[in-house]
């Protein structure tokens, strides 16, 4: 019968379907069961990262320089947020978000790669944080985070040395796909020691296995593996000294370095002005960023390591030692008339009327240029350059800093290599007094002074791990060094020295030092005819750099110091007193602290005046409110205009 046949056909179709379904189910459950069990497990169990706490940075005495503070924050990850508007409305139901904050969040969500977390609010109070935990738990992509934020108790005084932390860049995450790098609130070192020693400070992340629902609600914890916090990093820095030096600098654009001459420990490495690393470790407002970038005092540049300056007369110790090495009699007298003729050109001494008869013992305290022109020309540039390198100039040191400028110690081969030209004699004259091609950074000058003072091949060190190193001798005869040291003692203590302002205020303690005033501007022929304009009357940018290097105590050197004031006019008058106060702080802190109030009041006045003029000039052209959280400093050292290295030294002000 037709119907029965078709009914059976239909029945057969149903049976086949049933068999297929049963077979499919058996396939899923039995043959692929293990795979799906694993997937169900993956769904259910989540490995949650426990970010490691960053190691502390402490000074030589264990006083904290960088530490961690608990920070409750709310973050959202755009990739996981289904509807940003709805999420923001939900968030507003729990914490107040003003219009500016909301704009910033939207701006971040639009401009960042979507896997990078966006901070909704940081520094939540405890009630706000618990409210977020309870009421936003089911909102996908929005996470209340309890993390630790970096805190720098000393603020800007350590900014260049320590650096700051920030979010990893999107590129860093794309490179190694470490989930820690996009963990909300995770920070890595961005500058200074934080950046260089990031691996040591970072630690190892832990994890906790938790059972979660599809909405991410925690059901229970299944087990934890604790994080391993980063190592505590002990520096050779003396926190109090660094603070003092920074305060003592006032409103100057300057660098101060103090080193232990025996161990090479860097006790203080200040570069001012600076930025507040606490702000940099959160988010930098675009306005502040622009202000820092346009500031002519270059607050973003670590002048101690990256600044390059002609050493000026502080280089004369090198010339002296080179002359002694070449066998020149220290008693030989050179007549200084204030001018030195070479070919058709005339080189001037800073003393216009000349110093009269000058021997080696008087040459350093008087800083007589004519004496060094004469002796430099006699020993030649290669001997001077060799001595400069022995004393540590023209090189980078193995320090945990992300950048160091190596400077230039010129010689004949260097000039041939660099300019394909033969060395000219006039260039030797300039080099002998630390001008011309020679360029150094403040750290190198400190090392040079430490080596002179100790006679050893001192290398600076910043991290105090292990025993203090012993350094081999420089191989310079002690008698030579004694002449230089005595010269430096006379610079400060003799009646005719150029740095009488640096005389030690402490009884039974003598300082020794050497001034330097490095020319910045070119002096045109027309200007020379009119007579040189007084430094104080020039615009700030064109004034000479003021330098001073020193060691103390003079009879048994322990500390070496270098001070550079950018456009600071004159080494003896302005840089030397700073070195005096910083060094005396090491011996009698109370006395040193007493000089601070007038200096700080003056600096505050200058700063207020500058801020007022900036505020008046600023136009709100910046549309962005905040710089990206992964902001990194990549600052190049500024190029100062160096005077023509072959040009004769013009008459100038006495040092």
């Amino acid at each position: 019968m037709e119907f029965s046949r078709r009914a059976l056909l239909l029945g057969a179709g149903m049976a086949t379907t049933g068999a297929v379904l049963a077979g499919r189910m058996a396939w899923l459950a039995v043959f692929e069961g293990e795979r799906y069990q694993l997937k169900a497990q993956e769904n259910r169990v989540q490995d949650r990262l426990i970010p490691p706490r960053r190691g502390w940075i402490v000074d030589r005495g264990g006083k904290p320089i960088a530490l961690n503070r608990p920070d409750y924050r709310l973050e959202l990850r755009p990739a996981e947020v289904e509807n940003l508007d709805a999420a923001l409305i939900a968030i507003r139901g729990v914490i107040d978000l003003d219009v500016g904050e909301e704009l910033r969040i939207r701006d971040d969500c639009a401009s960042q790669p979507s896997f990078m977390p966006v901070v909704v609010r940081q520094n939540l109070t405890w009630p706000e944080f618990t409210a977020c935990n309870v009421r936003l738990a089911t909102l996908p992509g929005v996470t209340p985070v309890q993390s630790f934020s970096r805190f720098y108790p000393e603020g800007e005084r350590f900014a260049h040395l320590i650096g700051y932390v920030g979010a990893p860049t999107p590129e860093q995450y794309r490179e190694d796909r470490n989930p820690l790098l996009i963990y909300p609130g995770f920070r890595i070192g961005k500058d200074g020691i934080e950046r260089h020693e990031d691996k040591r400070l970072r630690g190892v992340a832990g994890s906790s296995r938790v059972e979660v629902t599809a909405r991410g609600e925690l059901v229970r914890e299944l087990g934890t593996e604790a994080d391993r916090p980063g190592d505590t990093l002990r520096l050779t820095i003396n926190r109090d000294l660094q603070n003092y030096a920074a305060r003592r600098l006032g409103d100057n654009s300057a660098s101060v370095i103090v080193m232990d001459c025996i161990t090479g420990d860097v006790l203080c490495m200040v570069s001012m002005p600076a930025y507040d690393p606490n702000i940099f470790s959160r988010r930098v407002p675009a306005k502040l960023w622009n202000a820092l970038q346009t500031d002519d005092h270059t607050p973003l540049l670590n002048k101690s390591a990256m600044g390059l300056y002609p050493p000026g007369s502080t280089f004369k110790m090198v010339s002296t030692l080179a002359a002694l090495e070449a066998g020149i009699d220290p008693g030989e007298t050179v007549g200084c008339s204030g001018a030195y003729r070479l070919g058709n050109n005339v080189w001037h001494c800073h003393a216009r009327r000349g110093h009269g008869g000058v021997n080696m013992h008087r040459a350093l305290p008087l800083s007589c240029d004519i004496y060094f022109y004469t002796m430099g020309r006699r020993v030649g540039i290669d001997a001077i350059a060799a001595m400069a390198r022995r004393l540590g100039l023209g090189q980078e040191y193995p320090l945990p800093l992300p950048g160091q400028a190596s400077g230039i110690v010129p010689d004949k081969a260097w000039k041939q290599r660099r300019y394909k030209q033969a060395w000219r004699e006039g260039e030797t004259l300039n080099a002998a007094i630390g001008q011309g091609y020679i360029i150094t950074n403040p750290l190198q000058l400190a090392v040079m002074t430490a080596r002179l003072a100790s006679g050893r091949e001192v290398m600076p060190r910043l991290i105090a791990d292990g025993k203090a190193p012993e350094f081999p001798s420089l191989g310079i005869p002690e008698s030579h060094l004694a002449i230089v040291r005595q010269g430096m003692i006379d610079v400060v203590n003799a009646g005719f020295g150029t740095a009488r302002a640096a005389r030690s205020p402490i009884a039974d303690l003598m300082f020794a030092g050497k001034t330097g005033t490095a020319q910045v501007r070119r002096i045109s022929a027309a200007e020379r005819k009119r007579g040189v304009i007084r430094n104080e009357a020039l615009p700030w940018k064109q004034r000479d750099h003021a330098l001073f290097v020193a060691f103390a105590p003079a009879d048994a050197p322990r500390y070496a110091c270098s001070v550079i004031l950018e456009h600071g006019i004159a080494g003896g008058k302005y840089a030397a007193p700073i070195a005096r106060d910083v060094l005396s702080f090491l011996f009698e802190p109370e006395r040193a602290l007493a000089v601070l109030p007038p200096i700080e009041a003056e600096a505050a006045r200058a700063r207020a005046a500058r801020e007022a003029s900036e505020a008046a000039a600023s136009i709100a052209t910046e549309t962005r409110q905040m710089m990206p959280s992964w902001l990194k400093l990549d600052i190049q050292p500024p190029q100062f205009e160096i005077e023509d290295p072959d040009a004769p030294q013009p008459p100038r002000e006495p040092e």
Partner: protein
């Protein structure tokens, strides 16, 4: 009125109690699944579903007492009423869930498309009852029959509700097939449909297209719409042979499985009861379907044969599409698993369907007295 005065005891005794028992076994298991889906609680689903089932079971038994020939007389009025209601849905229906399916008739919301699944079978069985043998495939007979199918299918597509439209289409085509329409016509129609697919594709709504695409490759969108299928397969697969145990499902209890108590109830069940639970449901339903086929083959008139087997095929369509969907063999179309999934309207349709078929079985039972 003979219903009221009829021989009650005898007619009740003629009901297929074995099938009633099977249906209770399936629905009972469904309640167990819903109890677990609620996290081990009678509320909000299991208790209400149980009460609903009890009421509908009594209703189905009452329907089973209606003599099948009554349906012959009511076929046209029922069909036409529902067709008008479908138009009404289009014209005045309240917008619900993105598509119009409900008609608010004051005291309750009425879903005419759901009832149309049964009415299409009823009206076609009525239509072919009076078609002489050998005339089934003639164009003047076939074309009105096709129009009877096309009208409700078209209206339901407009709502738009692809699942229900396909279900109505399936019921109608099965009746045509059973009535004896020539096989080559089905072959030609299938070929024509295949040719029309690209055009149909263009007419589908975006969300429907997305469902089809994701069905073809669920992993392409594991967080979005493919999530349903992926999670459902994980639930079934991780259940293994014997399941994770009653109340032990993680996919369902931790909310990874969406719609765990409605369309994906089978997956919820399979996670906790494993392949054994799945086979239990498939075999019990297989027995119900086999009984339906036997009932149809034993029925006396062409109308009864077509009606009972057409309805059973509609039930089969529910089952097959739902299970294929949860196992990743069909796109997500939103068809519940009868008697197990939470939801009143599907259960009502299925219980009416079973009541009518039981009535036919009762009427054709060999009289012993």
């Amino acid at each position: 009125m003979d219903l009221l005065n009829g021989p009650w005891r005898r007619e009740l005794g003629r009901l297929p109690w074995g099938v009633v028992l099977l249906v209770c076994a399936i629905a009972g298991f469904g309640l167990v699944v819903l109890y677990s889906a609620a996290g081990g609680s009678l509320n909000p689903w299991a208790l209400k579903q149980g009460i609903r089932f009890a009421i509908l079971l009594v209703g189905a038994l009452a329907l089973a007492l209606v003599p099948p020939e009554r349906w012959l007389g009511w076929a046209w009025p029922i069909y036409l009423t529902l067709l008008v209601a479908l138009v009404g849905v289009e014209v005045a229906g309240a917008v619900r869930g993105g598509s119009q399916r409900w008609l608010d008739i004051g005291i309750m919301q009425f879903q005419p498309s759901e009832m149309m699944k049964l009415a299409i079978v009823l009206v076609l069985a009525r239509y072919y009852q009076y078609v002489p043998k050998g005339y089934e495939s003639r164009p003047d007979v076939l074309l009105p029959a096709l129009a009877l199918i096309a009208m409700p299918v078209g209206l339901v597509m407009l709502q738009p509700d692809l699942g229900t439209a396909l279900s109505i289409l399936f019921g109608g085509v099965v009746v045509l097939f059973l009535a004896g329409v020539r096989l080559w016509l089905f072959g030609t129609a299938a070929a024509a449909v295949a040719a029309m697919l690209p055009i149909a594709w263009n007419m589908l709504h975006d969300y429907q297209r997305k469902r089809v695409l994701i069905f073809l490759d669920p992993e392409s969108d594991p967080r979005g719409a493919g999530y349903h299928i992926t999670q459902s397969k994980i639930a079934i697969g991780s259940g293994g042979l014997t399941g994770k145990g009653f109340l032990g499902g993680t996919q369902s209890h931790l909310d990874y499985l969406p719609e765990l108590h409605t369309d994906f109830a089978f997956a919820t069940m399979a996670e906790e009861w494993g392949l054994m639970g799945g086979l239990y449901v498939i075999i019990l339903y297989g027995m119900v379907l086999a009984w339906g086929i036997r009932t149809a083959m034993n029925a006396k008139s062409q109308f009864q044969r077509l009606l009972s087997l057409g309805l059973i095929a509609t039930l089969f369509f529910y089952l097959a599409i739902n299970m294929m969907m949860v196992m990743g063999l069909a796109p997500v179309v939103g068809i519940p698993l009868p008697l197990i999934s939470w939801g009143g309207s599907a259960m009502m349709t299925v219980m009416i369907l079973l009541g009518v078929v039981m009535g036919i079985a009762r009427a054709n039972r060999p009289r012993l007295d």
